[in-house]
């Protein structure tokens, strides 16, 4: 059990709902990793609008918390407007805040992001901002009231894993007063395990699961990796050292075996 803003959750995976081969496979994947939170895109899935009602019903039937996002917003103003619409439509004050600088890479615009986060925090939202691995931006997001910060591990949808590992580690060590979630760039279950070993509170996934040959199995694999990574972090990871140190005393080892161990 852990706490994300005002909610107590079991799973440390947040799962996106885009790109699955079918809604059925999406549902199966969400159940396979037993995640408690799913993200939905307001701009393409509007529940109250009659247009997306049937698809929305499928998501509601899963009985999970919905985290609407502001995907596709290019300015702080657009993102704020979209967030307010999402609050009305999905009846939640949670918002995954995305202010995008570049349509192709979907890289965050840090300036617009901090502006929009400040405004939405003042307005009573629980803001989960999608940002880069830049520590100063993360700090500013916390300073303007974000309880949660979601840096990328590498570019969204790239599946490159923890390209920003050192900066993520620095962020985790520095920002101890906010929940940190790795959002974007994870490709393999081991990437998620690494993120958890760094001490991140959770991971947010979409492409790595949705585009897998077998999305429900991949969702399950990520769930196990996240659990292993978290448990490893909590158990206290061994600090790597330069030289090998034998775990068995060499004193009783026959000399010929000691011989073969010499380089």
């Amino acid at each position: 059990m852990w706490t994300l803003a005002d909610k107590t959750l079991n799973s440390r995976i947040l799962l996106g709902t885009a790109l699955y081969p079918s809604p059925r496979i999406m549902s199966d994947s969400i159940q396979a990793c037993a995640c408690d939170v799913v993200t939905v895109s307001l701009r393409r899935q509007s529940p109250l609008d009659k247009a997306g009602a049937r698809y929305w019903a499928l998501i509601q039937a899963l009985n999970v918390h919905v985290l609407p996002n502001t995907a596709g917003c290019r300015t702080a103003k657009e993102a704020v407007t979209t967030a307010k619409m999402a609050r009305d439509l999905f009846a939640t004050d949670w918002i995954k805040l995305e202010v995008i600088a570049d349509d192709y890479t979907l890289a965050p615009d840090p300036v617009g992001l901090v502006q929009a986060a400040a405004e939405l925090n003042r307005d009573g939202f629980t803001v989960l901002p999608y940002t880069t691995a830049d520590l100063d931006v993360a700090r500013q997001l916390v300073d303007v009231g974000c309880q949660v910060v979601m840096p990328w591990a590498s570019m969204i949808g790239s599946g490159q894993g923890l390209v920003e590992r050192d900066r993520l580690l620095r962020m985790r060590e520095t920002i101890t007063d906010a929940t940190l979630i790795v959002d974007a760039g994870l490709g393999k279950p081991s990437d998620a395990a690494q993120a958890m070993e760094l001490g991140f509170d959770a991971v947010l996934l979409n492409s790595a699961v949705a585009l897998a040959d077998d999305p429900p199995s991949m969702a399950k694999a990520f769930a196990q990796a996240v659990e292993a990574g978290r448990l490893g972090f909590e158990a206290g990871l061994m600090v790597p050292r330069d030289l090998a140190s034998p775990s068995t005393p060499t004193i009783g080892t026959p000399f010929w075996q000691q011989e073969t161990r010499q380089p």
């Binding site: 081969p21 809604p23 059925r24 496979i25 609008d49 247009a51 049937r54 499928l58 596709g72 040959d213």
Partner: protein, 359 residues
Amino acid sequence: MKQTLAIVGAGLAGRMLAIRLADDGWDVTLFDQGERDGLESCSYTGAGMLAPQSELDRADPHIAELGDRSIALWPSVLTRLPRPVDLVMDGTVLVAHSTDEPDLERMARRILDRSPSPERIRRLSAAELGDLEPDLATRFQHGWFIEREGHIDNRQLLEALEAGITHRSITWHTTHPCPSIRPHHVDTDHPHYDWVIDCRGLGAQGDLPDLRGVRGELLHLHAPEVSLRHPIRLTHPRYPLYVVPRTDNLFVIGATEIESDDRGPITVRSALELLTAAYSLHSGFAEAHIVEARADCRPAFPDNLPRVTCEPGLVRINGLYRHGFLLAPLLLETVCQTLAKSEAVSLLETNTLLETTRT
């Protein structure tokens, strides 16, 4: 006396069934909410793709197997029609821009892994690509080719089917919506039928609570400077994007895929995406005329697989999603065989369909 049969919904499936069942000796009556022009049917908007293997990137492997067998039936369907319909099966070319190369390789690998006939799929060198599509050789260093795929001209087909129905003097009630149908009955104004066939697509949403619309948008461009011979599939992060060459330098560019029942006109974002895709494929599209922009919704069940259900007096065919032209001949053949045997099968799932059509 002939057995009576009402077909509700005169889209692709309804029209094809009307002709086939009339030829089989049934007394057929057709009902549709729209006019004979078919504008209200999502088949009018579709691109008529017949690409079972290309679809394997995202579709269930059953789709490829059913699709292959279904495509083989198209020529015999067309012989029943009084007018020619363009059916081209010269293969599909897959390409990607350099930044999307990994997506193309991932897509090709997945298609190969899942394909029932991987021998029909091959990687193209720059020279081979140039032989197949000279216009693409300068922009793309390699590509993939999938044999025995193609497209059918959907509008020619709907028109030819209409002509075939007229030719057979089948009664056709146009602008006659039937929002709720039940075994033997289409509505209170019409008598008992031996069979009612539900081909309403999204028009059946009132009777089928898990049927949803998946919006698709596409553009028709007239591009005299562009000569492409094959349907070209370009990788796109969110949906399969095709440029389909029709006759006289007409090209269909599509189609988006959005979880929505909205049948409203194309959005600016989608138009920008499709046009950019076309232009990035071939600069000759810059001077093309945008002849038409269309949007409609594909009927789909939660597993995105087609469903044929049958109870005494009522057969329903629905959820053909993005595979209407691909799967229609085979699914309808199954329906005709079921009706001929007059035995009610409770539900034809895709698995069962495969079994049924094998025998």
